[in-house]
C-alpha cells in the first residue's frame, strides 16, 4: 500500500509539475468581439485581479465568418508598463498552450505592481492584421496560499478525527 501511495503521489506530482505549461483559460472578458478586418477578437484575463509575480493567463478567441473559430492565425501578446511606456513582455499566444484548443493562450507574470496595457496583435493567413488592447492594474503580491491553508485544514480535521476515535469513552 505504501509503495502504491508513494508511486501515485510521485506520478501525479510529475503531472502537476508539467501542468503550468498549459494555461487554463477562462476568466474575465476584457475585449468582446473587437473587429479586426473581417475577423473579431475576444480576450479573457485570468485571474481577473492579477498580482505581481504570479501567473496570469491571457486567452484569445478569434472569430471568423458566422463567428466560427479561426485556428490558423498568429497571435502575439505585448505588455506595456504605462508608467514608463516601455514594452516589458512580448510573447506568442497559441492553441498548443491552451486547454481549450479552440483558443489561443499565453501565461506570464507581471514583474511589478502597477498599470499596464496588454495588446494582442492578430495576423491571419489571408494577411489581415490588427490589434486590440486593454488596460489592467496589477496588484502587489499577497501571500495567501489557499492550497496550503486547505491542506493544513484537512490535516487538522483528520488528526482531530483520529484523536476523537482513539479517546476512551464510556457509554
Amino acid at each position: 500500500m505504501k509503495r502504491f501511495l508513494v508511486g501515485l503521489l510521485v506520478g501525479l506530482g510529475l503531472v502537476w509539475g508539467a501542468r503550468p505549461l498549459h494555461a487554463h483559460g477562462g476568466g474575465e472578458i476584457k475585449i468582446a468581439k473587437e473587429p479586426i478586418g473581417p475577423y473579431k477578437m475576444t480576450v479573457w484575463m485570468n485571474p481577473p485581479q492579477p498580482q505581481a509575480g504570479k501567473t496570469m493567463h491571457i486567452t484569445v478567441g478569434v472569430l471568423g465568418e458566422d463567428d466560427a473559430p479561426v485556428l490558423d492565425a498568429a497571435v502575439m501578446m505585448e505588455m506595456t508598463d504605462l508608467a514608463t511606456g516601455q514594452t516589458i513582455l512580448s510573447r506568442p499566444a497559441s492553441t498548443e498552450r491552451s486547454t481549450n484548443k479552440l483558443y489561443y493562450e499565453t501565461d506570464f507574470a507581471a514583474p511589478d505592481s502597477g498599470s499596464y496595457e496588454i495588446s494582442l496583435h492578430l495576423t491571419t493567413l489571408d494577411d489581415v492584421s490588427g490589434q486590440a488592447a486593454f488596460q489592467t492594474e496589477v496588484e502587489p503580491a499577497k501571500n495567501n496560499n489557499w492550497l496550503a491553508v486547505g491542506l493544513v485544514g484537512i490535516g487538522v480535521v483528520l488528526v482531530g478525527f483520529l484523536f476523537y476515535a482513539n479517546r476512551s469513552v464510556r457509554y
Binding site: L8, V15, G26, I29, D67, A68, T99, A165, N166
Partner: protein
C-alpha cells in the same frame, strides 16, 4: 478530420486536484470490494459485481464531467455545460451510492487505519451522539430537497452563472455544490449507508424522487423557450458548428428539461418495480380468509 472537431476532441483538462481524489476513491473501493469478497468466499450479497461496476461508472462520469471536453467547452457551449451538470447531479451520485461505498472504502483501508476510522465513525454516528443528531436534522428529506433546489436554481441565475464562468474557484464551488446536494438527494433515495434517518418506505421515496422533476423541468422549459440569450458570457465566444447562442440555449434547456427529468422518472420506475416485487413476494392469504361465503358473494367487501 475537421480541424474544429479535432480541436474539440483534444481539449482535455488533466486536473490533478480531480484525478487524485478519483484515483484514491476508486482504489480504496476496489481494494475493499476485493477484501470483502475474499472474506465472504464470494457468497456475499454485498460484494457483488454490479456494485463494483456502478461505483467505477460513477467515478468515470465524474472524470468525464470535470476533465473532458465537456468541461473545457462548457464556457463555449451552454448545452455542454448542462450535460456536465446532469452528470454531476443525477448520473454520478446514484451510481456511487447504489454501490454502498462506505463499507467498501473502510475495508479498503489498511487494518490499523480501518479500525481507527471505523471506531471514529461509529462514535461520531452513535445513536446518542450530538453529531448524529445534528446531521440527521440537517439532512432530512425536506432540507435536502430545499438545498438541492436552491443550488440548482441559484446557480442558473445569470449573475451567478456568469460569475462562475469568470472565476475558476467559483466554478469549482458550483460543481461541488451540485455534486454534494446530488449525493444528499440520492442518499435518501438509495438508502445507502450510513443509515442515520428513519427509513422511509418505497412510496415515500418515489414521491421524493418525483419531487425533483418540477424545479428541474421549470428551469429547463424557461431556458428552452427564452427569446433572448440569458447568459451573456456566451455572446462573445466563437460558435461551434454554426450553433447560435439562442439555439445553444434552447438545446441546453431541452437537455435539462427532457433527459434531466427522465432520470428521475427512471429512478421512480425502479422503485415502483421494487414495490411491486415486494407485493408479489408476500405470502398468499390463507384459504379460510378468502374462501368464506361472504367473500365469494361480494369480493372485496368486508363482512
Amino acid at each position: 478530420m475537421d480541424p474544429v472537431l479535432k480541436a474539440v476532441l483534444l481539449s482535455w483538462d488533466w486536473r490533478v486536484d480531480v484525478i487524485i481524489p478519483l484515483v484514491l476513491a476508486g482504489w480504496l473501493y476496489v481494494t475493499g470490494w476485493g477484501r470483502l469478497r475474499k472474506r465472504t468466499q464470494q457468497q456475499s450479497r454485498l460484494a457483488v459485481h454490479w456494485r463494483l461496476i456502478a461505483y467505477i461508472s460513477g467515478l468515470f462520469f465524474i472524470g468525464l464531467a470535470l476533465l473532458s471536453p465537456i468541461d473545457v467547452l462548457g464556457g463555449q457551449l451552454f448545452y455542454f455545460h448542462m450535460i456536465q451538470h446532469l452528470l454531476l447531479i443525477m448520473i454520478a451520485p446514484p451510481l456511487l451510492l447504489v454501490a454502498n461505498p462506505m463499507a467498501f472504502i473502510l475495508w479498503g483501508l489498511p487494518a490499523g487505519w480501518r479500525r481507527k476510522f471505523g471506531r471514529g465513525l461509529s462514535r461520531l454516528l452513535h445513536k446518542d451522539g450530538v453529531f448524529r443528531s445534528w446531521l440527521r436534522s440537517a439532512t432530512t428529506m425536506g432540507v435536502v430537497w430545499m438545498a438541492w433546489t436552491v443550488s440548482l436554481v441559484g446557480w442558473h441565475d445569470p449573475t451567478a452563472y456568469n460569475a462562475a464562468l469568470t472565476y475558476d474557484w467559483l466554478h469549482d464551488v458550483e460543481h461541488l455544490s451540485f455534486f454534494l446536494t446530488g449525493m444528499l438527494f440520492w442518499w435518501h433515495v438509495t438508502g445507502a449507508g450510513p443509515r442515520i434517518h428513519k427509513q422511509v418506505g418505497l412510496i415515500g421515496r418515489i414521491v421524493f424522487v418525483l419531487s425533483a422533476i418540477p424545479p428541474n423541468m421549470l428551469l429547463g422549459v424557461s431556458l428552452a423557450f427564452a427569446s433572448e440569450p440569458v447568459y451573456t458570457f456566451y455572446t462573445a465566444v466563437p460558435r461551434i458548428g454554426g450553433l447560435s447562442v439562442i439555439d445553444d440555449q434552447r438545446v441546453g434547456g431541452f437537455i435539462m428539461w427532457v433527459p434531466g427529468s427522465m432520470m428521475y422518472i427512471i429512478a421512480a420506475l425502479v422503485l415502483v418495480a421494487k414495490l411491486l416485487q415486494g407485493e408479489e413476494n408476500k405470502p398468499p392469504l390463507p384459504e379460510t380468509v378468502w374462501a368464506e361465503d361472504g367473500a365469494i358473494a361480494a369480493p372485496g367487501m368486508d363482512s
